[in-house]
């Protein structure tokens, strides 16, 4: 046993583990919630992550062409070449339309809220081990992003920045039970907070909880952020009420919400870095 502890391998292992644990403690204590090792790795390998994200997001848009038999190949070659060219143009056109719609929503939002400062970001990765679907974005502290910055898609709330490196950040979506958002229903003006449970998150839903038992909230109601707490600005759309459930442990009720965003299809988002009423960072 003593020989084992005297081995060079064990000594290196002990030193590396001590450094990693110290890094973990730093990440918990720091405002970025990320360790020095993660920050350095994010900067060095960030370009590779972005490239991989772009490739996997565009894989489905690759045109697939089929070659006919050798007999017909000569006859159809010219037509096939023309089809390929038109398909490439169609791909470019769809990309332009998508970007146009994205920036149109951005412009409307900016005109409505002149105090918002935005950073545009692309989704470059998702942690496979996290069931609730965290997103990794290609902007970090070098772009002014900090922990607790809200993330939106158009007028819809996506989630909140959980940890930051100089070139990337990780976002917890509203389908993560650790994310709680003060919110209100627009017709009845009832205020509470939106969270989710494991069961609801599995269905892609969240809940406006702790409503009074005689709540006037009904199906079809729109739930928006209330702006209480200084993390999320007011009046960002969270989703639509699809059901009202009575609590089993007390006399409150809760409204099940279908978010306005399909998180599995997100490729581009906006991060609000500053707004009036934001809590001090």
């Amino acid at each position: 046993m003593k020989r084992f502890y005297r081995r060079t391998g064990f000594k290196i292992f002990a030193v590396v583990m001590a450094a990693l644990i110290a890094g973990s403690i730093i990440s918990v204590a720091s405002r970025n919630s990320s360790s020095p090792l993660t920050r350095v790795t994010g900067v060095v390998f960030g370009p590779a992550s972005r490239l991989a994200g772009a490739v996997t997001n565009n894989l489905k848009r690759l045109p697939v062409t089929f070659r006919s038999s050798s007999y017909l190949k000569r006859e159809n070659a010219a037509l096939q070449s023309e089809i390929d060219s038109l398909r490439e143009q169609l791909v470019d056109y769809e990309e332009v339309v998508y970007k146009n719609n994205f920036y149109k929503e951005f412009l409307e939002l900016k005109e409505e809220h002149e105090d918002y400062e935005f950073a545009e970001a692309a989704v470059i990765g998702r942690d496979s081990a996290d069931k609730f679907g965290t997103l990794t974005l290609n902007k970090g502290s070098a772009n002014g992003i900090t922990v607790n910055d809200p993330v939106i898609y158009g007028k819809y709330l996506v989630g909140v920045v959980a940890s930051v490196t100089p070139t990337q950040c990780v976002v917890n979506t509203i389908l993560n039970p650790s994310v709680n958002v003060s919110a209100y229903e627009t017709r009845t003006r009832e205020v509470s907070y939106v969270t989710t449970t494991n069961e609801l998150a599995g269905k892609g839903q969240c809940t406006l909880t702790n409503l009074p038992a005689q709540t006037a909230v009904t199906d079809g109601g729109l739930v928006c952020t209330a702006g209480v707490g200084g993390i999320y600005p007011a009046n960002l759309i969270i989703g639509t009420v699809v059901d009202i459930i009575d609590a089993t442990l007390d006399i409150s009720a809760s409204a099940v919400i279908e978010p306005g965003v399909d998180f599995s299809q997100l490729t581009d988002v906006l991060i609000i870095t500053e707004f009036n009423g934001q809590a001090k960072k």
Partner: protein, 176 residues
């Protein structure tokens, strides 16, 4: 100073292994639905670190685990959880091969399955049981155990890839 042929092969081999780990990290944590079935994807970095540690030894296993874990933590919460786990896996697998096991397909499958099972159970325990998330046991059977099984199913492919690199650039006879 000129490098010996053996040293050059060792450098190429280790650099190629590092590139494989980088590639598997990008595949594992890609933004799209690549290699995912029903939302469940394999944790390819675990069998990669196991295979690298089995062939390269405990010290190299520590550093491959550190590299793989650091890459994984970029897409996770960044608190070194994955780096700590993969460093321990790299060291443990390297030590087991040195003392009681041989490098072959069966031992790699066994060690990868154990490591991915421990990771999935540990992740589930710390992120679902300790914060008292509801219906945690359903998540275990619907997400984390399938993830461990999917990883085990694909681990032979990772082993074969690492083995091919080791055979191509070997500097000593391997006992398999």
């Amino acid at each position: 100073m000129t490098l010996t042929e053996a040293k050059k092969k060792q450098i190429y081999r280790r650099a190629l292994l590092a590139a494989v780990i980088l590639g598997l990290s990008l595949i594992q944590n890609s933004a799209g639905r690549f290699l995912k079935i029903g939302g469940v994807g394999p944790l390819l970095l675990i069998p990669a670190v196991v295979a690298a540690a089995m062939y390269e030894g405990d010290i190299a296993g520590i550093f491959y685990g550190l590299f793989a874990g650091a890459l994984w933590d970029v897409f996770a919460k960044g608190n070194n959880f994955n780096a700590i786990f993969l460093v321990a896996v790299g060291f443990a697998c390297g030590m087991l091969i040195l003392t009681v096991m041989r490098v072959n397909f069966v031992t790699h499958l066994l060690l990868s399955s154990c490591a991915s099972g421990i990771y999935c159970l540990g992740y589930w325990f710390f992120h679902f049981i300790t914060p008292h998330i509801d219906r945690a046991f359903i998540t275990l059977f619907a997400f984390y155990l399938p993830m461990a099984i999917f990883t085990s199913v694909l681990s032979p492919l990772v082993f074969l890839l690492v083995r091919a690199i080791e055979i191509k650039f070997r500097t000593e006879q391997y006992t398999e």
